[in-house]
Symmetry: C2
Subunit: 202 residues, 2 copies
């Protein structure tokens, strides 16, 4: 381990190396880079991070990150308030928004059920989702969790808990990515894409 | 480019993606990770970076980063004050200290001469080095800059400026790295290692 000749530098390296994917060597490189910057720039960086962490607000309806109590998506009257898309976290909202293909609302669970990581249904925004689904103006819920064991378990758990006759429950399509070649696709994905085939021209 | 639904998050991503080697996607991942941490931890991170940037001190003798006006190396009476090792930056001091093979002092230039990047001799701590070399208690200066065009230029510039008869001027040995195989060594390094051969048993 590299001995660092200054307490201030040592502390900065220690704090930065706590970040995910940043080791001690990268932390040292970043710290030395910061030493060469104008102090006002680093002050702005530090204060921005502190503000993000202490002042960030989540939408009271969908739990997306937001600047207000109701996020800009939930507050938009031009969006389809009868469809909710259930996702794991904020990044998934951004990814779906990026496609420009979805005009409904979201519900961010804040994670997925994972006994290994100690995440139980009570740690997620599942009760709030069930409350929202009591509202009869919602007529479809799209489950868009990752297709891992945990994701599938969470989807199934929510499916079993939903108790509203007439509500459409769908999941996003799994299949071969656009542009991918059949022969290189794993057999589970290829198998599912055949089972879940759709009428041509749709 | 991903649209980010919160101003606070957007600002954090923008600030983090200014760091070297960190793009927008990594900055977003780091920001979302920070949102999940205790605010007090992120406060400590931010304040540590601000303190590093505004309070870091450089040794008044060798320009190594330091907590005091004279760094712990320059202040150590157990080290050999008759030898100075000239390096480009603080990281090189750490790398050489790491070897445990050097007991002299350092002189950190703070960069190397690079017309392309607009770094002139006056931007580096060269005059301070020449001042230190006027002290007759110094009898050897070891040039330990990288062997690039800029490094060699800087070494040569300093060599020409040193005006003290009797001072030993040396450079660190270039050669085949310990453990490397001859046949895979580039010809310049191999050539130098033959020209600069040393008596066996030394």
């Amino acid at each position: 381990m590299i001995r660092i000749p200054s307490m201030l530098l040592e502390q900065a390296v220690e704090e930065l190396s706590r970040l995910p994917g940043i080791g001690r060597r990268t932390a040292l490189r970043l710290s030395l880079w910061m030493l060469k910057q104008e102090p006002e720039n680093i002050k702005r960086l530090g204060e921005t991070l502190i503000r993000l962490s202490s002042e960030a607000v989540y939408c009271s309806q969908c739990f997306n990150i937001s600047d207000d109590l109701v996020c800009s998506i939930c507050a938009d009257p031009g969006r389809d308030h009868s469809v909710l898309c259930v996702v794991q976290d904020v990044r998934d909202v951004m990814a779906i928004e990026q496609t420009g293909q979805y005009r409904g609302l979201y519900h961010v669970l804040g994670g997925i059920i994972s006994p290994l990581e100690g995440i139980a249904p009570g740690d997620l925004h599942i009760e709030e989702l069930l409350d929202r689904l009591q509202n009869n103006s919602v007529n479809e819920v799209i489950m868009a969790l990752n297709s891992s064991v945990e994701g599938d378990t969470t989807t199934f758990y929510i499916f079993r808990r939903i108790d509203r006759p007439g509500l459409n429950i769908t999941t996003i399509a799994r299949g071969i990515a656009v542009g991918d070649e059949l022969e290189y696709t794993d057999e589970i994905t290829l198998g599912r894409s055949i089972l879940n085939r759709i009428p041509y021209g749709k």
